[in-house]
């Protein structure tokens, strides 16, 4: 029976962890652009600002 004393809190804590993870994901917009994220995974290097104009790049 004493096993329950830590098993139940452990189960609840893991559940709460999942809940917090979901809340974080929602808050930081992880679900905002599901289509774009799939493509971004293919990019090697992120573009950084102020590299001067690169017009007409096609």
């Amino acid at each position: 029976m004493t096993a329950l004393a830590w098993l139940i809190p452990a189960a609840l804590a893991l559940g709460a962890l999942g809940l917090v993870a979901f809340m974080w994901a929602l808050r930081t917009g992880q679900y905002d652009d599901l289509d774009g994220a799939a493509w971004r995974a293919l990019d090697d290097d992120p573009v950084s600002p102020k590299k001067g104009p690169r017009d007409g790049e096609q």
Partner: protein, 759 residues
Amino acid sequence: MAQALGPQLELGSLEPRKSVSDQKMAPRGVASVDPLAAAVGRQFTFVVENMRCGGCMRKVETALLGVAGTMSARVNLSTGRVGIVVDRSIKANSEPYIEALKSAGFTARELPSDEAVSNSLDEDLERRLAVAGFATMNIMLLSVAVWSGAGGDMEKSLQTALHWLSAVIAIPAVAYAGVPFFASALAAIRARRINMDVPISLGVLLATGMSLYQTTQVSEQVYFDAAVSLLFFLLIGRVLDQKMRRQAKSAAENFLGLLSPATTIVHSDGATERIATSAVRPGMALIIAAGERVPVDAKVTRGRAEIDEALLTGETVPRQVLEGGSLYAGTINLGGPVEAVATAVEDNTLLAEIARLMQTAEQARGRYVRLADRAARLYAPAVHILGLATFIGWMWVGYTWEPALTAAIAVLIVTCPCALALAVPAVQVAAIGRLFKRGIVVKAPDGLERLSEVDTIVLDKTGTLTLGEPELVPGDDVSDDVLAKAAALAANSRHPYARAVVKAAYARGLTVVPVAGVEEIAGSGLRASLDGSEVKLGSPAFCDLAALANETGTGGAGEEASLWLRHGHARPTAFRFIDPLRSDASTVVARLIQLGYAVELLSGDRTAIVAATAKASGITQWRAEVRPDEKTHRLDELKAEGRKVLMVGDGLNDAPALASAHASIAPATAADISQTASDVIFQGSKLSPLIETLAVAKASQRAALGNFAISIGYNVIFVPLAVMGIVTPIIAAIAMSLSSITVTANAIWLGHKRLKDAT
């Protein structure tokens, strides 16, 4: 999280609407680039056209970051928008960014930064759903332990401890997750009405309160699980509902973004002035320059316009508009400048009308959902009276208030409209999900209901039975040499004929080397100089061969139009195009006829072409050269005969017919207006989604009716038992969950089972 919160607090109401889905935390989309940038910068949001893949995404971001002062740029591909943060010290307006995107090949338009609040509701529901889900799962975990130990070897003290634990989880969860229902119920009661949320709220609150009381009494009659799982299931439905509306709203906003911001008007003395489009009034004279978007609905007064109406009709071949012809806001003038007079502005334009339709489309509700709402008005008071009567009855017979209240709660839980409320939405979600996986989008909420009643199918030709993309007539006597030359010129153009030529060249395995210095004359053709002499690819008139074209006589069945190649003084070559049938058109038509549908073809095209298409696809009932109003007229005739007509079409000319038919389907390549008017949109180059859609629609209506039967039958059996006190609240809660699970399982099964109608 602190990072994301900081900028938001600082920006406050200045924050522009980045996208409908993330405006609440606007800077977060860019926070991954530089969290500080969001705090110090100004933000702009642009709608970018034709941004469909990772490559475009990268080009757009690179182009924007190339403008001095841009601190970060982040594309949201799902919404078709890009949000940028600009250094506050640079007094920038949106112009340089739009220009930068233009030179990268994208047309963009700034989204206004008002209405920064509306989205908070969605995420709010999602958070409540997450909490309810967490609580449901953990309480169920404890409940299963209690149930399996009940009456067995579980000590009373442990059971009570588990009950207290459930209470600790359930009470905050109910208080948080139940708010949308409580608020709605309260509002209804204040307005002296009763809606479905009243019995839900009452059931949840009473069940929670009674469970808490029973826990303090060390009783076994505890059912926190029932209260929380009820909230969880109901919230799932609400979240899905919100999601659909959000998408519709965002699409409509993007659409309106396509209107051009400024317009050139002509004063009565002939002077021109550039004014904001919002200031244009009907009757004003306008000049629409070459390559400019038509700002308002207008009528041509002088000049000949060559209009790209792809936005409205999906038609890739530009339309010629002569004097007196109508121009629609949002279309592009590819020809020379034209003078026109405004006929409709702002909210009265066709484009605004379409956007409005899109916005309201999702707000309409299915007939069965409406039926459920109406039933709730009768059902809810009945439930309350029944519960109260049970309580009074038990007291009257001579019991104490405890068993009387227990019986009354059992009645409230048993009659809880959970299964009833889930019956239709669960089936709809399953059916819509199943179709969605096949690239079929159900737009109208009651679309499936109406599709299931259809007995006659009317098809359009171009873009529906056919692909709507011109293709070079196979087997024509164009030599490889000539084709390669034409393709070399055509590679410089995006005109559908030019693309067809290039495609044909590749199909023959020719290498296409684009010629440099090609000049494109809008609406006429392409010109370049090759080997010292002039090469022209374009219309007969453009190639100076009007006379020759007549001589040659071009009029074969199925032929769409022609293009000519002239190199110096050599004999010009004709390229002929056809619009090929969708590969499975004839099998689909045959299958539909076999399934008992009457199939008809209505087309605005020439008789010879329509006859050939009808023959090839196996349709015996057909009409050619039908005007849009005649299509509607024909649908009315069929309606008068008592037929339920499904209209399948794609062009602007089909839109009225799509709207007036009993149900309608459009391919994804269709004009936006047609997509708006139709209930269902399908992707891909095949016609078979038509059969799948009809099969799923029929099956979903069977499943919905089955679910109604299950939930009503369940009430008929359990309500009398609960009134008599034979069913305790815990059994009622289990039975209620079982009925919800049966109903949901029935719906999920629909999502997976093989339908015999579907191919």
